[in-house]
Symmetry: C2
Subunit: 377 residues, 2 copies
């Protein structure tokens, strides 16, 4: 008998309340009863986004919502600044290019956060930039960008600031309105403790102004349609009823914990994981670590993916590996969503046992001891 | 105490097996365990689509998949023939126009099926037509189009035949390969007995050829990305894990019933509903009735929406109303998905009781009697 432990940066495990809510019979999506649920989820989303802007709920993966952020703000030939320091920064670039947007890439070394001053220089040099696309947590490298500082810079410029917070929302601090973020994209299967299948986008008045001028083609991903329905507590297309049932439950849990406490919980588990990794003599990949997941470099000679495979087979634990140039070099241990102390202890203990088997000498219990030290603080 | 009865043409009620499957803990979508589930659902979809073509599973509503059918086959300025005999035919037109496709509208009187000969004439007159967009069941009017005949016409032409079978698949007969349908779009929340949130698209080799020439912008909706992943039993973006759990269950149920029997079940319940309506002195709106739902014209002086409201309040039954020019004039009683004899009897009995209250004289029990006659055949 093995209990399955899911510690990847999405999808993440679900609280039993959310799982059971999704097993409730379907009701029609144009009834007063469902409208009352939508009213509650729309308000709950504004709470976790820390915004007074409308938050659109889409039936799609996070990428669909990223695409929506591009096609609703820009026109062919418009200039966009893309912060590219990992796979998801790259995705912003690919999305812009798919629609003929002129894309200026701000390349950042993988593992490092973008320097806000570089964004400032780019905006000064290119006042024609209409949108800045970046990430809160760049999940591929486990880097957290300084959105607060970037928001200050963008607020004095015509460009809208668009943040992929698909994995980061509620794990890393993000004050949408206070920091001046125009568009925030989030995914259901992360700190929001839901299955994949929903994405959420907040849209500021500045972004809504730009929206009116955007001529890129769209229909299903149209913010105009979504916002028009949202104003009537409705949706332009059929809602994913079961996932919305789950959303209502997860937002209730997050509200009762309090969004600041939710972020603190993630910060604490992230610190625990980092300290444990260091105590095992391991190096961390991210120079600006996110609370979403911890990227741990494997010592020379150890194939991270072989280790992950054994972690799954012998310990029934899923963690993520590295992508592209990081393939086989890192493991990414998430501490995201419905995750708590005992989960972190379990994965550290398993890593300790495995690392020795893979030839990396470390003292049994040293990682767990370091973890406990943080947890007792 | 009132048991809720959902008899709208989507979303539809779910079997308990499907509801409970969705309450299972989330597993990671890039594991062997999940790949085995995807393999089973991909094959099961081919079975219910009656096709050897690949069937793409998308996280979106049906409209997202309709949009995918447009953007993956056409280029700006291409010519498309759109059969427009209701709201969903109109949607094909709106989608084409959103992307600058030259759209020829074949307008059909609401309530009637398209004459296949009209499509034949249009194709002869306009050999430049690259795609024909139509519907199996035009849900807004409850009309079933003769896709078999249209398929025969299209097969001798360069144009691909694209069928919105979002509500129709498994309710109305559709032999994708035998009838030569290039692209079939289906939705989860209909006869497939799932919540809304997934859409499915089969893509023929002819459509895949056209796909290579299509230059309309796309990313999330890209068939190229989806088919590349599908060939490896994978998905380009994160799968809606919980909904896929449900899909596995619903396909198991449909396979064990047999796709022909599933269609027969729908045909039988549809006939039952039609005969009951006639016995109550009511007129049917559709001249080519689909098995998805039955559109019943309300007698002069009875507001269909007022009657529906009372049906919900007093009998806890949801049926659909009319859209646009049919608003207030028809009720659409669905007999779709997880629906059986007793559900049809219940809704007929409730209608009988209500109609008399609304001033339409009909003999109590006459509708149910007519229904029983069909059910005993």
């Amino acid at each position: 008998m093995k209990k399955y432990l899911l510690m990847a940066p999405g999808p993440t495990p679900l609280p039993p309340q959310v799982l059971l809510a999704m097993a409730k019979p379907i009701i029609h999506h144009r009834t007063d009863e469902f409208k009352a649920i939508l009213k509650e989820t729309n308000e709950g989303l504004q709470y976790v986004f820390q915004t007074a802007n409308p938050v659109v709920t889409m039936s799609s993966s996070g990428t669909g919502a990223m695409e929506a952020a591009v096609v609703n703000t820009l026109s062919r030939g418009d200039c966009a600044l893309v912060v590219r320091g990992g796979k998801f920064g790259e995705r912003w670039g690919e999305l812009c290019e798919a629609y003929g947007v002129e894309t200026m890439m701000l390349d950042v070394e993988w593992g490092k956060a973008v320097e806000p001053s570089q964004i400032e220089s780019a905006l000064k040099k290119h006042p024609e930039i209409k949108a800045i696309f970046t990430t809160l947590c760049e999940t591929s490298t486990c880097v957290r960008n300084d959105i607060e500082a970037i928001g200050k810079i963008a607020s004095g410029h015509q460009a809208v600031l668009v943040v992929d917070a698909i994995s980061g929302l509620c794990a890393d601090e993000l004050k949408t309105d206070a920091w001046g973020v125009d568009i925030v994209v989030a995914g259901s299967q992360k700190a929001l403790m839901l299955p994949p299948g929903l994405a959420f986008v907040s849209v500021s008045p500045k972004a809504q102004e730009l929206m009116k001028k955007s001529t890129l083609p769209k229909f299903y991903l149209s913010f105009a349609k979504a916002l028009k329905s949202l104003a009537k507590t409705d949706t332009p297309f059929t809602s994913s009823v079961s996932l919305i049932y789950g959303l209502k439950e997860s937002l209730t849990l997050l509200k009762s914990e309090g969004v600041d406490n939710v972020v603190k919980r993630h910060a604490r588990l992230a610190k625990t994981t980092r300290e444990a990794a260091r105590a095992l003599g391991l190096e961390l990949f991210s120079k600006a670590p996110s609370n979403v997941a911890t990227a741990i470099l494997m010592p020379a000679g150890i194939d991270a993916d072989a280790l992950r495979k054994k972690l799954t087979r012998d310990y029934s634990i899923t963690v993520a590996g590295g992508q592209d140039k990081l393939k086989g070099k890192i493991v990414r241990v998430a501490h995201l969503g419905y995750c708590e102390e005992s989960d972190v202890i379990t994965v550290i203990s398993a890593l300790e046992m495995l690392l020795n088997q893979f030839g990396h000498k470390c003292e049994p219990g040293a990682g767990v001891a370091a973890a406990e030290k943080v947890l007792l603080q």
